[in-house]
């Protein structure tokens, strides 16, 4: 949790001051002189930029409450008396107190470009936390409070210009899609602070690169979705993933990342109407099916069943891949715990077809019209095709002969009526 991490890394001196001085602190004596100028909204620097610092908001900030003075951060003004001071002050170094989190930031995606390339676009402390009005993380007004984080991060990551400039930032549209996701909506609409926010997955100060965080994803999601994580690691995909296989799907392969939606949302990739396409992404991929010897034609054979036809025409109540195979806990049918194990098939069918017996599950499911799938169906189909072709052919032949005969007789009649002498 960011809050505990914050408290841990807070300097012990600040904690002591916080306890001693918390109730009803007013401005520290030394700050008064600063606010003589800086509390004036009209006051500007030589370039016309405001130098305003709202003394009231500053007083509520965690640093003022902890008894820090302006010069505690602006060290170059300590003991300074020849006002006004130079326009350019030295950059405030937060690591003076927050050295732990600074190191984390320094090794993450934001710290690295700043350090290595002097890239000032990368977020520094103030870009996320603010400058003079920093509030405790648990304060609803804090810029890094769970419900406020998306807005703070999207200030950069939702900006197409900035995202286009730095490859590692990814697409601003994808980042923005978080707002509409199930997590984003939980934060924004429902005010659920326990819902995943930016730092829940990416970390706060040490934000990892995509390839670094990829192997961590199932565990990351599992921090909140613990029982599902257990299901996943015991399923065929999770087991393979844990043994180092990177071809198997992890959470984000099926659910998406920023744009995760509830399975009930028709737009979700795991909604009934999309889930079969989702599974087919790998199970119809010839390179994957050959590599692992997976059975072919799963989607086609499903689409040919009543379930597949009904689903493709808009009836979402019918069985989809997940209805029979499960989702997080998918197991091979040879596994006795698998929903598709022969001994459990009747039970699986029975979830939708109450009272389905052993007979109900008797017979191949993913049939592709081959004789070995269902010899009876294959034969019946062939007999019908021949019979229908023969019968319709017979009909058409009979009709053609009938029509020609009608025309012949009509012409003969016309001839008779035109030449009455000849008859």
């Amino acid at each position: 949790m960011p809050i505990t991490r914050y408290i841990k890394t807070l300097s012990p001196v600040a904690v002591l001051l916080l306890i001693l001085l918390l109730p009803g602190r007013s401005l520290a004596q030394g700050d008064d002189i600063c606010f003589e100028c800086h509390n004036d909204p009209e006051m500007t620097g030589s370039a016309g930029d405001t130098i305003y610092v709202d003394s009231e908001r500053y007083t509520e900030s965690i640093h003022a409450q902890a008894g820090l003075e302006c010069v505690s951060c602006h060290l170059d003004l300590e003991g300074f008396e020849d006002w006004p001071h130079a326009e350019r002050l030295e950059r405030v170094d937060c690591s003076m107190c927050h050295d732990g989190v600074f190191d984390m930031w320094d090794s993450g995606v934001h710290g690295q470009p700043a350090r290595e390339k002097g890239d000032l676009d990368a977020a520094g402390c103030a870009d996320c936390h603010g400058k003079h009005y920093i509030l405790p993380v648990e304060d609803l007004g804090s810029r890094v409070y769970p419900t406020n984080q998306p807005e703070t991060c999207l200030a950069c990551h939702g900006d197409p210009k900035l995202a286009g400039k730095h490859e590692g930032m990814g697409s601003s549209d994808i980042a923005r899609s978080f707002i509409e996701s199930v997590h984003g909506q939980a934060l924004k609409k429902s005010g659920l602070t326990v819902s995943a926010t930016c730092t829940s997955c990416h970390g706060a100060h040490k934000v990892l690169k995509l390839n670094e965080m990829l192997p961590e994803i199932p565990e990351t999601c599992g921090k909140c979705h613990a029982p599902i994580y257990q299901d996943y690691v015991h399923g065929v995909h999770g087991e393979a993933f844990q043994s180092g296989n990177l071809d198997v799907p992890i959470c984000t392969d099926c659910h998406g990342e920023h744009n995760i939606r509830s399975a009930e949302d028709p737009g979700s990739d795991v909604s009934p109407s999309h889930v079969s396409q989702n599974c087919a992404g790998c199970h119809e991929d010839i390179s994957i099916t050959t590599k692992y010897g997976l059975p072919l034609g799963r989607l086609d054979s499903y689409n040919n069943t009543y379930h597949g036809i009904a689903l493709n025409l808009g009836d979402v109540r019918v069985a989809n891949c997940a209805s029979c195979h499960g989702y997080h806990n998918i197991r091979p049918s040879a596994d006795p715990e698998s929903m598709t194990h022969p001994a459990r098939l009747a039970e699986t069918c029975g979830t939708c077809h109450p009272n389905a017996g052993e007979n109900f599950a008797e017979g191949k499911i993913h049939v592709q019209g081959n004789p070995e799938d269902n010899i009876g169906a294959w034969l019946v189909k062939r007999v019908y095709v021949i019979f229908i072709a023969g019968l319709i052919g017979g009909f058409v032949a009979y009709i053609v002969v009938d029509l020609l005969a009608h025309r012949r007789r009509r012409r003969a009649e016309q001839k008779n009526s035109n030449d009455p002498e000849e008859s």
Binding site: N303, Y306, I309, A310, N312, L313, G314, D315, R317, H353, P354, N355, A356, G357, N359, F360, A361, E362, G363, K364, V367, N374, G376, A377, V380, K381, Y384, V385, F387, I388, L391, I392, F395, V396, Y398, I399, V401, D402, L403, L404, A405, H406, R408, R410
Partner: protein
């Protein structure tokens, strides 16, 4: 089966001062209407399942729940067909009219020879067509095709409607065969109606653009004399002399008064 008597002369009906042969009674026309509407609805709601990927089928299910509605309509139409079938069954057994028509429907050796007779006539190898009774071989064929098709579709449809109950009797792979049968029998019925029945009652030059018998049940006596001569003769035998004279008068044979000397062309 008890033979219920249905006198021939009851088949003669008068309308606007003219005499007609009553081909189908009101009860029969209603049965046809019930069959027609349930069949059409069954085809419209069933055939989409046979070509789910086609563009036209995708357009059919444009609103939410339309596929569910399809299922409901298909089952309702099936129940309607079942009711028509049950009604027809009892109609054939217990109404004099239906009973007589059922007996007329019994296939005979003559039907086989008529097929070849008709083809020979159409190919110009015979001078005259076979002489048909009330129902000719094409009509009998259609009737049995519909009867057999309805029984088969109702039975297989019931299995697909109640798969859990059906699999008490047999394993599910049989149900998969039944699904194939239901689909192909539907194609067969659809094509038979579109090609065979539509030709016989619409496009055939004898009735084009449409035979109106299914609406009013009346057949012109001249048409009867030409296309069902055996039935016409039976009719003439059973009617009284003055009715017979009226019939000949209407057919244009006004100068002949002695029926025994009448020559039909």
């Amino acid at each position: 089966m008890a033979r219920l008597n249905y006198p021939m002369q009851k088949r003669l009906v008068e309308h606007d001062g003219r005499l007609y042969y009553e081909r189908f009674s009101r009860a029969q026309r209603l049965q046809h209407l019930g069959l027609l509407s349930s069949f059409t609805l069954l085809i419209l709601t069933g055939v989409p399942l046979l070509m789910p990927d086609s563009w036209i089928v995708r357009q059919m299910f444009w609103f939410e729940g339309s596929f569910t509605l399809r299922g409901i309509l298909h089952r309702l139409a099936a129940v309607a067909l079942l009711l028509v079938s049950i009604y027809h069954f009892f109609f054939c057994l217990f109404s004099p009219r239906g009973n007589r028509d059922l007996r007329e429907m019994v296939p005979s050796w003559k039907d086989i020879t008529d097929i070849f007779g008709m083809i020979s006539y159409n190919l110009g190898k015979k001078k005259s067509p076979p002489r048909f009774g009330r129902f000719n071989f094409t009509e009998k064929f259609e009737y049995y095709a519909v009867a057999w098709g309805s029984v088969l579709m109702l039975a297989t449809g019931a299995c697909l409607w109640f798969p859990v109950k059906a699999t008490i009797l047999f394993p599910r792979w049989v149900l998969d065969i039944i699904r194939v049968v239901h689909g192909f029998e539907a194609i067969l019925a659809f094509l038979a109606i579109i090609i065979w029945h539509m030709y016989n009652v619409h496009l055939n030059p004898e009735v084009f653009p449409m035979s109106r018998i299914w609406l009013n049940g009346r057949m012109e006596l001249d048409f009867l004399r030409h296309h069902h001569p055996l039935e016409f003769e039976r009719l003439m035998e059973s009617v009284s002399a003055d009715v017979a004279e009226k019939i000949y008068c209407q057919l244009g044979d006004v100068f002949v008064t002695d029926t025994s000397e009448t020559q039909l062309h």
